[in-house]
Amino acid sequence: MGKGSARALALALAVILACSDVAVVTAQETERIEGSAGDVLEDDPVGRLKVYVYDLPSKYNKKLLKKDPRCLNHMFAAEIFMHRFLLSSAVRTFNPEEADWFYTPVYTTCDLTPKGLPLPFKSPRMMRSAIQLIATNWPYWNRSEGADHFFVTPHDFGACFHYQEEKAIGRGILPLLQRATLVQTFGQKNHVCLKDGSITIPPYAPPQKMQTHLIPPDTPRSIFVYFRGLFYDTGNDPEGGYYARGARASVWENFKNNPLFDISTDHPPTYYEDMQRSVFCLCPLGWAPWSPRLVEAVVFGCIPVIIADDIVLPFADAIPWEEIGVFVAEDDVPQLDSILTSIPTDVVLRKQRLLANPSMKQAMLFPQPAQPGDAFHQILNGLARKLPHGSNVFLKPGERALNWTAGPPGDLKPW
């Protein structure tokens, strides 16, 4: 770690010098983000790891995209953009012998309904078929049974491949992915669909669209709490109480008449602008605990109020979410107004300073082309932090860890 610590020291010195300059030139104060892993948001992954990208036939990726280009705009588009980024990235290597990590570009969330929602029913078979392909054509899967491979599974419950939580829990993570590293948006502590060593990422939010809706930063923040979204999902949960574990309904029932809370299901065209005029933005769970609201709140400088018990937020080891957002237990939702108004003002101002840090905003976005410090780089940083691989990654010859016939029989059908 000698190289790493010297680099960190140099980086810290540079940042301190830069900060002192910044204080003189512009009056905008931002605070440096220091997560549990140190000041790692600005780390450069190039040179710290090598990634080999498998060349899968286009039926796994390009053909799906061509069939339905809406996959590029929905919140699961991270898998597609990650593939594109890796193809032209400096961490890519064409020599699989020297690769630390192997990436399989399979777009499992690109099977969309006419309305645009992804159907996960074929995804396990697609993933299985892709793994079978790489296991037969390359020796690298079998030598580690996937322990040095990573997959991007941005669906609702990650590699459980179902949108309904009970069914997802019932299925569990695809057995073939037991040893691989999963890069997913879903994160909840002690949940079946989050395995140890996964990297949680933010959902995809279109950076250009958010850029075009920026308003002058001196517009005073005059809304106290802001939220736009469903409180009851009458289509899928007519009796109430299932959707969002009743938390969203509780927010509505308790605060619909409170003038400090600007909450409604109406989606106005000034949604992004209104977020920039708010102090707090609610990010409650829905059917799954994660949502693009967190990304939008961070980009627009609105303090996220996260109402999702045991949620694991993106890049949790690099970003100190406790210091940036406000966490409210679902049981405490009826006291939300007391909780928010009793936060001391200097804490609120500090959170705003941390949010104003451009590296924070950059880490939540997937810009095209990729820029230093963005979410792609944070994923690679996360992968780099897992290196070097432990001793149990490579299996002894003849040792087998995966059960290729495990799982529901429907998954075993070829895709």
Binding site: N190, R221, E239, A249, L260, D310
Partner: protein, 531 residues
């Protein structure tokens, strides 16, 4: 928004959901589970068993799967529920019963009071973390379950937690506003003007019916200005105690200057006198070497807060756009032709820029549609029009007025040379040698930052001082007509007779109990007989 009706059922059925959601949606599962629970309570005989099974199926058929489970839960669960809710107060019933569903600890209590067959029905392994917690806790002690580090987040239906009286607490609201104000202050410090200059607001005023109304409005606007402000009030006819006390109560820094001449009653003369009063104020600024940005805040105008942010940018002399509200809202509105309506969507007076953003000319008010119908006397019920260029649309750097100031440009005339010989000053451009150097503000005049309005009470109106009539009137009689809404100034006698006839007809038609004011308003309908 849907209304949640059977919330109690939701809570209870959520416990049921936790138990049997692993079983999927098959109705048979519920029947089996419930049948299994009911079984050991009666001696196992095959016919009884069959009958019970049939009964369960029938109930499921009629009530639906969820409600049938509910029924059985209610039948078998009375003891268990009272166990867990015995310690809760009625007000917190909502919260207490939700705890039965959201924590595995209390669900284990419910399973423990039943026979083990319930737990058996739950064991079809699905591998969820919470389910294994349930099994683990069911086997372990009840007390141990609370120390279980496993997840307490349970999948299934939860109750919707509602506070008994969800009203906003005023102390919290004030704290929230405190937070917002502090946040806005920080925003101003980060992104706003770096070195805010003092604002010098110059207001000519005189004693009349609406003086208190206008001054109060202006006072409130000025109190909201986030920059240091000095209010220079020039009062025609000398200072009055009423004005002085109002200004003293305002909490602003005020310079109250008397102006010897009285305000005339003709509009043309009033405009001229106001101009002289403003010049007088400028001379005072020059004498006292007051430093800042001079804003001409007429007492009846409406100012936006963005105006005061924008004027901080002025170098020497700037111009802003004013929206003109020329209609006085009298009963007979100005009849505008369609074409006129197209051409003047909103009259705006202010700087006009060419494509490169430099001052090219001025937008002024088009007074052609109003020709002949404007008011000449203050208090007349006719529209009042602005002059060529209103003073309110200009802002000055006060150093421009000083005798010597560094950097003072040479296209500024010396103040002493202006208005000395009794010549009339139409607009501040006469203070300059070269009017083309005025800076257009507010996005080159595209943003309207203040509104010009001239509303005065009718010339013959009487007004009480401070809303008190001193000495009190000798006779006080209830009014036959309410003063609200405002009627037209002239009521021809024919109209009066018509109204009388209307009134008689209405009186004869059915009983007329006292109608609250303002509910059914027919034009000129006499109301309020019980006043």
């Amino acid at each position: 928004m849907k209304s949640l009706l059977p919330r109690s059922e939701l809570r209870r059925s959520s416990a049921a959901a936790v138990r049997s959601s692993a079983g999927g949606a098959a109705g048979g599962d519920g029947a089996v589970a419930d049948g299994g629970g009911a079984g050991p309570r009666a001696p196992a005989s095959s016919t009884f068993w069959f009958l019970l099974h049939a009964l369960c199926c029938l109930i499921s058929l009629f009530l639906g799967f969820r409600f049938s489970r509910l029924l059985f839960f209610m039948l078998f669960s009375t003891t268990a529920l009272y166990h867990s809710t015995s310690s809760s107060s009625s007000a917190a019933v909502l919260r207490a019963t939700t705890t039965t569903t959201t924590t595995t600890t209390t669900t284990t209590t419910t399973t423990n009071t039943f026979t083990l067959s319930f737990a058996a029905a739950n064991t079809p392994p699905s591998g969820p973390a919470n389910r294994t917690a349930l099994e683990a806790a069911a086997e372990a002690d009840k007390a141990a379950a609370s120390g279980n580090p496993q997840s307490h987040v349970v999948v299934g239906r939860h109750g919707i937690r509602i506070r008994p009286w969800p009203h906003p607490d005023p102390v919290e609201v004030m704290r929230a506003h405190g937070i917002m104000e502090r946040v806005q202050e920080e925003q101003r410090r980060w992104y706003g003007v770096k070195e805010p200059r003092q604002v010098l607001a110059v207001t000519p005023t005189y004693s009349r019916a609406f003086q208190a109304l206008h001054l109060t409005g202006l006072l409130h606007s000025l109190r909201n200005v986030p920059y240091p402000l000095t209010w220079i009030v020039v009062e025609a006819g000398g200072t009055t105690n009423a004005t002085a006390s109002m200004l003293a109560r305002s909490g602003l820094t005020v310079v109250h200057i008397p102006f010897p001449d009285r305000m005339p009653t003709e509009w043309a003369d009033r405009h001229a006198t106001e101009n002289r009063m403003r010049l007088h104020a400028l001379r005072v600024i020059r004498e006292r070497k007051m430093d800042g940005v001079v804003v001409f805040a007429d007492d009846s105008n409406v100012h936006s807060m963005e105006l005061f942010d924008e004027v901080q940018k002025v170098q020497w002399m700037g111009a802003v756009s004013i929206g003109i509200l020329a209609h006085t809202g009298t009963a007979d509105q100005l009849r505008l032709s369609e074409e006129d309506k197209q051409n003047m969507p909103l009259p705006v007076q202010g700087p006009a820029c060419n494509s490169s953003g430099h001052l090219a000319g001025w937008h002024t008010f088009n007074s052609l549609p109003f020709s002949g119908k404007t008011a000449t006397v203050v208090g007349e019920a006719a529209p009042v029009l602005p002059r060529g260029l209103e003073w309110a649309g200009f802002v000055l750097n006060s150093r421009m007025l000083w005798k010597e100031a560094e950097g003072k440009p040479d296209w500024v005339k010396d103040l002493d040379a202006v208005g000395e010989n009794g010549e009339e000053i139409e607009n501040p451009l006469t203070l300059l040698n070269d009017p083309s150097s005025v800076e257009p503000l507010g996005n080159c005049g595209k943003k309207v930052l203040l509104w010009w309005l001239r509303v005065e009470a009718r010339a013959d109106s009487k007004f009480p001082q401070g809303w008190v009539i001193e000495p009190p009137l000798e006779v006080v009689v209830p009014a036959k007509r309410t003063p609200w809404p405002e009627t037209t100034p002239e009521l021809p006698s024919e109209l009066l007779d018509d109204k009388q006839k209307l009134e008689d007809r209405h009186l004869s038609r059915g009983n007329k109990s006292s109608q609250p004011r303002g509910t059914t308003k027919r034009k000129g309908d006499p109301q309020g007989q019980d006043n």
